[in-house]
């Protein structure tokens, strides 16, 4: 059946509210492993030794198995303890609505984020940074600059500032937000020092 529109975040929330109740243990220890194994068998998936697949049938079977996993299993909300069901049409509608070309950053520091299509001769975007690893407050700018100044780096991903003015940046405390804002300022300072003020973060 045709969809009314791509799902919104509120549609997803409503879908969870209307979903079946289930304990998180049932989801983790029963539903996920059982369904994944069933689909591995159904689609006869065996990757063998190749780290990167060379045959189209493995790629297509894995895609079909993953799509069926999402549609037949649904998605679990760990706060509501409920399972959202999604149709295959909704999945394709979501794929269709997603922009396929994005510009990250601005001006001379921008990176074009376009589909590559297999092992295209075009290199992927290099997003340099500690990827969430903890970084001391006193060297935060320097650590981030060490990435921003690399010519092969196109965009920046930040590390986590371990403290803010000496206080641990503990989750769900004002220090967490203060550290986050300091991180953003620190990354900006690092990109300016590297001569790339408009690079995406």
């Amino acid at each position: 059946m045709a969809t009314a529109r791509p799902l919104t975040i509120c549609d997803v929330y409503d879908g969870f509210l209307a979903g079946k109740k289930l304990t998180e243990d049932e989801w983790d220890y029963d539903i996920i492993p059982t369904n994944a194994t069933k689909l591995k068998d159904k689609y006869k998936l065996n990757f063998g030794k190749n780290m990167v697949p060379e045959d189209k049938s493995t790629m297509n079977n894995l895609f079909a198995a993953g799509l069926e996993m999402l549609v037949s299993t649904g998605f679990y909300n760990s706060d509501l303890k409920r399972v959202l069901k999604i149709s295959e049409t909704d999945v394709w509608e979501g794929i269709k609505k997603t922009p396929k070309q994005i510009i990250l950053g601005e001006g001379r520091d921008c990176a074009r984020f376009y589909p590559r299509r297999g092992n295209s001769p075009v290199k992927p975007i290099i997003q340099g940074g500690p990827t969430g690893a903890p970084v001391s407050e006193d060297v935060f700018v320097q650590v981030m600059q060490s990435y921003a100044q690399e010519s092969v780096v196109d965009t920046i991903v930040n590390g986590v500032m371990a403290t803010i003015e000496g206080h641990p940046a503990i989750t769900n405390t004002p220090y967490e937000i203060r550290a986050l804002m300091a991180e953003i300022r620190g990354v900006r300072e690092a990109t300016v020092r590297a001569g790339r003020p408009y690079i995406a973060i």
Partner: protein, 239 residues
């Protein structure tokens, strides 16, 4: 934050989300922010082994776009025993998932890096290069990293690891997949026996001059050693 910067939101393992994520996403969508949805499926965890983890990974990736308004998906299959993305199994999962989605959609796919060895070690650079080779060859559009020393040790990450990630990707782009697999087999075999005694590496302050933010001569030498080793495995990185 500008519309051309990215906001990151994480799913939970496996095929789960919480209300904090939905609430953040609701605001970001209305603001027109660029959204990166992250999920690191656990190899050997709830999903099971390689193929089952890959199935869950494809499902999680599709959910990022269909349910959560992601503009791009940041993957990162992680090994339950070692806590890394650079193992043979997790590289194989990520590469198969990317190739599968790339062959069937034009979605934008990213992957993140958690090697076991720390900075200023050849092992760290070789692990990072291995994943970059596989990610590039399997069609990913963005490589994000690298969180050396498993991303848990403070100040154990530097720009030099991103350099090898980018240079290995550049050298791989356009290669035949059969050739890539031969390189990967030799490369991963060279370090995978050393996880239990992986070198911890050095602190940022020992890898760089903190005042000038220049890498030390020692780290540049280690980098050159890694480039030489990669050439021996069949990947030529040009200076």
């Amino acid at each position: 934050m500008r519309p051309c910067d990215s906001h990151e939101c994480s799913q939970l393992n496996e095929l789960k989300v919480d209300m904090a994520a939905l609430n953040m996403l609701s605001g970001w969508v209305e603001n027109g922010n660029t959204i990166m949805i992250e999920q690191m499926p656990i190899f050997g965890g709830y999903c099971g082994m390689v193929e089952e983890t890959a199935i869950c990974d494809v499902a999680s990736t599709l959910a990022s776009f269909a349910l959560f308004h992601g503009n791009y998906h940041l993957d990162g299959p992680i090994h339950i025993r070692w806590g890394i993305t650079t193992s043979r199994e997790t590289i194989q999962i990520a590469a198969h998932v990317a190739a599968a989605i790339d062959a069937n959609t034009d979605l934008l796919l990213a992957n993140q890096y958690y090697p076991i060895a720390g900075p200023c070690t050849e092992m760290c650079l070789l692990e990072t290069a291995a994943q970059a080779i596989a990610d590039t060859a399997s069609g990913r559009e963005l490589l994000s990293g690298s969180a050396a020393a498993k991303g848990v040790a403070q100040d154990k990450t530097t720009g030099m690891e991103a350099r090898i990630m980018g240079e290995a990707a550049k050298a791989t782009a356009g290669m035949k997949i059969a050739d890539v697999n031969k390189i990967l087999e030799k490369l991963v075999s060279s370090y995978e026996k050393n996880y239990a005694k992986a070198p911890a590496g050095k602190d940022f302050r020992q890898c760089y001059d903190v005042l000038t933010v220049k890498p030390t001569a020692e780290y540049l030498k280690v980098y050159e050693g890694a480039v030489k080793a990669l050439a021996g495995f069949g990947l030529e990185i040009k200076n």
